[in-house]
């Protein structure tokens, strides 16, 4: 006859199997911190480029720089290079820390759960990317930064169904910042730095303490 402990063990095992077979749980908190640092560095580059005082309404500065460019680089080229560098570095560090965590815990990184999470992240991101290109083409430059925040937040809420629930709250916070940005043009860069930089770092630290600290 089985005893209490065995039944408890069975229940724990069921829960663990359900968790491991339906969610991608190798995502490392450190990758969030790294992504946040990359984003802050990227935002700092833009500040330098624009030559801005902090927290000033920047419409006028934008107009000036947009017309003349700086350091011999056209603003569109600079923004694009900067954003691409942030994206590549953040992605690379995310892959690095997540692979490391998976290896430490003996989990596979490229499993059906990871694929499902990435597909669900990618759908709103791609739609958002195309939307931002359209904004840029129609001259709505000020809406690009808030739009990236909103679509990124939607991607997190969507992908969050297949990983830790906590990521949904990060997604909701990004959406909120993006919405604020829609109605506060000129503060796009600050909100962007807050959303992609500060929030990522906070989230990463919280996740690391909650799931990874041994």
């Amino acid at each position: 006859m089985k005893n209490q402990n065995e039944h408890l063990e069975t229940l724990t095992e069921i829960r663990s199997l359900m968790e491991r077979s339906s969610r991608f749980i190798s995502l490392s908190g450190l990758s969030g911190v790294a992504a946040g640092v990359c984003a802050l560095a990227g935002a700092a580059m833009v500040y330098l480029y624009l030559g801005l005082p902090l927290f000033s309404n920047q419409r006028l500065y934008y107009v000036e720089v947009l017309e003349q460019g700086r350091w011999g680089i056209h603003y569109a080229t600079f923004f694009l290079l900067d954003a691409a560098a942030v994206f590549v570095l953040a992605l690379a560090s995310g892959i690095f820390f997540t692979t490391r965590k998976a290896r430490q815990k003996g989990q596979k990184i490229w499993d059906p759960m990871a694929q499902r999470m990435l597909v669900n992240l990618a759908i709103p991101l791609l739609a958002g990317g195309i939307f931002c290109i359209a904004l840029y083409k129609t001259g709505n430059f000020g809406l690009v930064a808030p739009a990236t925040l909103i679509f990124y937040g939607l991607a997190l809420v969507n992908g969050g169904k297949y990983t830790f629930d906590d990521i949904r709250y990060l997604g909701l916070a990004e959406i909120l910042l993006g919405i604020v940005g829609l109605f506060k043009p000129g503060y796009g860069l600050e909100l962007w730095a807050l959303g992609f930089g500060v929030l990522h770092i906070l989230y990463g630290i919280i996740m690391f303490n909650k799931y990874e600290r041994a």
Partner: protein, 100 residues
């Protein structure tokens, strides 16, 4: 207390592996044969024999797809299977609460 135990032991789910298989099917629509093997750490033969039991009870349904030339078998839980799993879990919990 006694009837609870009996209830547990008469169902085909009173087996770690079969319960594990059903746990995975409760949270996924379709699960591929290889995924069970990996997650539960089983051999082909061992897993197949447990699957046969679950199939015989109509707790699971299978479908075969061809990926390239390789047949790929996936499983899903039937309504009967889901009910059996939920009943089994409820019985387990009741047993724990009765605190013997």
């Amino acid at each position: 207390m006694k009837h609870l135990l009996e209830k547990l032991e008469t169902t085909k789910l009173d087996n770690r592996i079969r319960l594990g298989i059903m746990s995975m099917l409760m949270v996924n629509d379709w699960v591929e044969f290889g995924a069970f093997k990996e997650m539960l750490g089983l051999t082909d033969g061992n897993l197949a024999s447990h699957m046969k039991v679950l199939e015989a009870e109509s707790y699971v349904e299978l479908r075969k797809l061809f990926v390239g030339r390789k047949p790929q078998t996936s499983y899903t839980a039937t309504i009967a299977g889901r009910n059996a799993f939920n009943d089994h879990l409820a019985a387990l919990e009741a047993l724990l609460k009765s605190g013997s």
